[in-house]
């Protein structure tokens, strides 16, 4: 409405159809109205020409073309390089996914292995337990045996002592005992030779005894009743 007021001249005798700016800020003052022809000084003027040599323009254009070509090639190369080799590109991402899957699989396999080792450990521990039980049984029975032997040897000692106590010389038997001792002298003397023969008696002459009658000294057999007499 504002533009209507400005553009329509107050006294427009011809009342021609006037085109005015339909939107936007009005341009005041207006340029030359379109029905007024071009100024005579400006008519038939050649358009401005480029004074720069064509060769130079061509050279510049070719330089630009070369530059663009190289830049695009570089960008393409870097794009492909990033996709193929970098850790964030396509290939890198796929590799990372594959690695994750592999990792999960390997962890599962490791857990299987752990279970197998646990089984073997269980078996080993059971075997060790049985071995321990056997050892304990053996030790217990050995101890029992030892105790039994100890008691037996103590028993025998007591019996022997009791026996010797019974056979002790009483005052009324003294003379008889003396006479008996005098009648049966004990001769503990003996001689040995290198061949292991023993010659008992004080009066025995070793060379006078024939060879077949010589007594050979042998290692006595281990007699348990005479060996162990410990009372601990």
């Amino acid at each position: 409405l504002r533009s209507l007021i400005i553009h329509q001249p107050r006294q427009d005798p011809l009342r021609l159809q006037i085109r005015w700016k339909k939107w936007g800020p009005a341009k005041i003052p207006h340029k030359k109205p379109r029905w007024i022809p071009m100024a005579r000084s400006k008519m038939f003027v050649d358009p401005p020409t480029c004074l720069i040599a064509q060769a130079e323009l061509d050279h510049e254009k070719s330089l630009h073309t070369q530059y663009e070509m190289r830049m695009k090639a570089l960008v393409q190369y870097l794009y492909e390089d990033e996709a193929k080799f970098s850790d964030t590109g396509e290939a890198g991402r796929m590799e990372a996914e594959q690695e994750e899957k592999d990792h999960i699989r390997l962890v599962k396999e490791n857990e299987e292995e752990n279970r197998r080792v646990a089984e073997m450990r269980k078996l080993r521990l059971e075997q060790e337990m049985e071995q321990i039980k056997i050892n304990v049984q053996r030790e217990l029975s050995a101890k029992e045996q030892e105790e039994k032997e100890r008691i037996e040897s103590a028993d025998q000692l007591v019996r022997r002592e009791a026996d010797s106590m019974r056979r002790r010389i009483l005052p009324q038997n003294l003379e008889a005992a003396i006479n008996e001792a005098l009648d049966n002298p004990l001769d503990p003397e003996f001689a040995l030779d290198r061949d292991g023969h023993i010659y008992r008696g004080r009066e025995t002459k070793s060379l006078k005894i024939p060879e077949d009658q010589r007594e050979k000294l042998t290692i006595p057999e281990k007699n348990q009743s005479t060996e162990k007499i410990s009372l601990e």
Partner: protein
């Protein structure tokens, strides 16, 4: 031979240390080994051997992984790997030999052989043909042998006013 000190000093040689196949994956941050030192416990023998013979190799190949040993705490030996996402992997190594333990670790948390080879290839310094020095294996000895360059001063003395010696001794101020 006074530098080979200690028990089994072969464990300190670089040849031995480099011979381990176990390079841990990047996700493994800590490795702990639990075992007992008592010689009578045969089921710990593998773990003991692993710690004695193989742990230096593992640490050498993985300098950024923390490796800890715990002695005489538990009745059976085990190895724990702590990963970067706060999870653990437990390896029960009761009655296993140190070779078996090593193989198991390589299989589960070690980098594969192909990956190691790839990494070795990538890290090799690529030979740049633009470099000089025949002694280091490049093609050219010096830029003086290239046509169009300043010839070698052995053959043709360099103009005096190009020499730093002439310049610094003040000859440039002399009047000829």
């Amino acid at each position: 031979m006074s530098f080979m000190k200690g028990i089994s000093p072969i464990r300190r040689t670089t040849n031995y240390l480099n011979a381990s196949p176990l390079v841990l994956k990047r996700r493994v941050k800590i490795l702990t080994v639990n075992f007992n030192e008592n010689e009578e416990e045969e089921h710990h023998k593998g773990a003991r051997d692993f710690v004695f013979w193989n742990l230096p190799q593992v640490q050498y190949k993985n300098p950024n992984v923390q490796i800890v040993t715990f002695r005489n705490l538990t009745p059976s030996p085990f190895i724990t790997c702590f990963l970067e996402d706060n999870s653990k992997i437990l390896f029960d190594v009761d009655s296993q030999s140190n070779k078996e333990i090593m193989d198991r670790l390589v299989k589960t948390v070690g980098k594969s052989k192909e990956l190691l080879e790839e990494e070795a290839l990538a890290s090799e310094a690529k030979s740049n043909p633009a470099n000089f020095c025949r002694r280091l294996g490049f093609d050219r000895h010096c830029i003086c042998e290239m046509p169009g360059q300043v010839p070698c001063p052995i053959m043709v003395p360099v103009p005096k006013h190009w020499r730093g010696k002439w310049w610094n001794q003040g000859h440039r101020y002399e009047e000829e």
